[in-house]
């Protein structure tokens, strides 16, 4: 107390550090509920999935044995349904991502120009994204109906087919089925992709186009030399998000085809084994395998990003 005057600066320091410490405590108090949720619903289940994947756990059976990498050996060497599911999912991913990106770009460029009703257009474009995938799949399943579907009717009126056309039948083969199912995803996601790209397009200043025009660049040159390079970051992020979504596709496959073996996605197969079949050990190994496959894609994309930046 006697050193009051001379100790003023240290006092300020003390005040600051107590304020800092108390804010530190507050920070942890604020973050803790979220961390608890994350730990309980994500980290612990993830660890549990890894653990179960090395066991022969089954639903309703209390005895669980450690089986090492048996499940993984089985799913890579003996499980042809899983390898088919991986192929189906990867083909589906490539088709949908390519179409959604190209069509989304076209739609974004069209909507980016000034016209009456642009606001309405953007609102309409949001609707397919907002609708549950379950619903959009049902809408298309009805349009694909062999006898009373609108596609059959149109093909009929155009004289291309006579009688019925079974769009969803197994006899058309897996590639046809993937095309049919991709069309649903492309319809649902292209407008959304366009909206993401549109946000990127609007960041490009108009002066740059003016300058390009003065220099005599035509529309196509403007697109490839100006728009595309400037849009690259937005495009890459959108591509990553879309690819990850397509790789884990569940709803559209489950609602349209159920667990038809030749047209299952990876997620549908894993869910069916796990929940329907009650094979918690093997099903968990499938979950981990899907996780690793998706991780490979992430690593590839991230390294492309790094190369771009360098």
């Amino acid at each position: 107390m006697s050193q009051n005057v001379s100790a003023a600066p240290t006092n300020l320091k003390v005040v600051r550090s107590t304020l800092h410490r108390s804010r530190n405590i507050y920070a942890w108090v604020f973050v803790t509920p979220t961390l608890l949720v994350v730990a309980f619903v994500a980290l612990y289940p993830l660890a549990q999935t890894f653990y179960l994947s090395f066991t022969n756990a089954r639903f309703g059976q209390s005895q669980v044995n450690f089986v090492g990498i048996d499940n993984y050996v089985q799913l890579t060497t003996q499980d042809s349904i899983f390898t088919d599911a991986v192929k189906v999912t990867v083909i589906f991913t490539v088709i949908t991502v390519v179409f959604e990106t190209v069509l989304g770009m076209v739609v974004a460029l069209v909507v980016n120009s000034n016209f009456k009703g642009r606001g309405v257009m953007r609102a309409v474009m949001l609707i397919p994204w907002a609708v549950p995938t379950v619903v959009s799949t049902k809408l298309w399943a009805w349009m694909y109906n062999d006898q009373f579907g609108v596609f059959t009717d149109i093909l009929h009126r155009l004289g291309i087919i006579k009688g019925n056309f079974a769009f969803l039948a197994t006899s058309n083969g897996t590639p046809f089925a993937i095309g049919i199912i991709s069309a649903i995803d492309i319809w649902k996601t292209t407008p959304f992709m366009a909206l993401l790209l549109l946000a990127g397009l609007q960041l490009i200043p108009n002066d740059m186009y003016e300058a390009a025009r003065v220099d005599g660049a035509n529309g196509i040159q403007q697109f490839f030399r100006l728009t595309l390079p400037l849009l690259r970051p937005a495009l890459l992020v959108a591509l990553i998000l879309r690819t990850l979504d397509a790789l884990r596709a569940f709803d559209v496959f489950y609602v349209l085809f159920g667990n038809r073996p030749d047209t299952e996605s990876m997620s549908v197969y894993a869910q069916q084994r796990l929940v329907g079949g009650g094979r918690e050990g093997y099903g968990s190994a499938l979950c981990v395998a899907i996780f690793l496959i998706i991780l490979v894609f992430v690593v590839v994309y991230v390294s492309i990003f790094k190369v771009e930046e360098a």
């Binding site: 507050y26 994350v38 619903v41 289940p45 993830l46 999935t49 009373f148 009717d153 990127g200 959108a238």
Partner: protein, 301 residues
């Protein structure tokens, strides 16, 4: 835009008319393109509405009618008289609302701390949350199914299982978007409150929350839509038909009094229209908010 017209050079009549013709043609092509895009987006919805308004005899007759000859609301009254479907609507409303409230309340607290406080472990938590936004839910299904099914009375076949597990995909996104929202609020406002003697908790709910309302609305809406649309967990954790969510109810739709046809598509279409309406309304009303949230989470993420 009008660089060429500003130059005002003399032009021949023929050139002018050819130019205006070209302009009209390209404008026509442009609007045709807009029309094609609109029809492509809207047609499946139009077809669902038209199908839901047809009587069964017209729905199942060839050639198809593109506007109902006989309008009927039969399908709607059947669907709305379907107890299981009404249960599903109620269940989805409860689950989606609670998920939204929990994610926004807990998420905004964490987002405020992560956006404004410097503390040890902050960057680790940020990386954890960012990696979770890209996390495929199927990867945790094995462990989650085991946990849920072992907690019989409180989780298995209960809506609580959905409310808890849906936080996996709503929380990280909410925290991530709100953090950037809090960071965009000027620090001076906060400092002024500290000078006035407010503690961080008071600043959070008296100062930051009112300023962040648009961000809270955006993330809340997105959480609601995601929870309303979810299928994988609902299908895995719910068995009792009365506890189904709408996504599940539409997937396993059992029509009332259907005759001769395995699936009564008229009722299915009526059900999809009913489920879709609230989402279309939300999307149209909050278009700007949703888009700003999506680009904040997507483009910056």
């Amino acid at each position: 835009m009008n660089v060429s017209s500003l130059k005002a050079r003399p032009q021949y009549q023929a050139v002018v008319t050819r130019r205006t013709l070209k302009k009209i043609a390209s404008k026509g092509a442009f609007y045709l393109l807009i029309l094609i895009i609109l029809v492509y987006i809207i047609f499946p919805f139009y077809w669902a509405i038209v199908s839901s308004l047809k009587p069964m005899t017209e729905l199942y007759s060839n050639p198809l009618t593109y506007w109902p000859n006989h309008l009927t609301f039969d399908n709607y009254s059947k669907v709305l008289g379907n107890n299981l479907f009404l249960h599903a609507l109620l269940n989805s409303t409860i689950v989606s609302l609670l998920v939204t409230v929990i994610s926004v309340v807990l998420g905004s607290l964490a987002a405020y701390a992560l956006g404004r406080f410097r503390f040890r472990g902050r960057s680790f938590i940020l990386y954890l949350i960012l990696s979770m936004t890209l996390f495929p839910t199927i990867a945790v299904l094995g462990g989650l199914f085991q946990i849920v099914s072992s907690l019989h009375t409180i989780l298995y076949d209960q809506l609580t299982a959905l409310i808890l597990t849906y936080l996996i995909f709503t929380m990280p996104f909410t925290v991530w978007v709100l953090r950037s929202f809090f960071q965009s609020i000027p620090v001076e406002i906060e400092e002024a409150a500290y000078v006035d003697g407010a503690n961080p908790w008071q600043i959070y709910y008296r100062v930051m929350i009112p300023l962040a309302l648009p961000g809270l609305a955006t993330t809340g809406l997105l959480a609601f839509i995601q929870a309303w649309n979810e299928l994988l967990f609902a299908l895995s954790f719910i068995i009792t038909p009365e506890r189904q969510t709408v996504a599940l109810a539409i997937t396993n739709f059992q029509p009332q009094g259907g005759q001769g046809y395995a699936i009564d598509w008229g009722q299915v279409m009526a059900a999809t229209v009913i489920v879709t309406l609230p989402l279309v309304a939300l999307a149209l009303i909050f278009q700007r908010l949703i888009l700003s949230g999506l680009t904040a989470g997507g483009v910056k993420g």
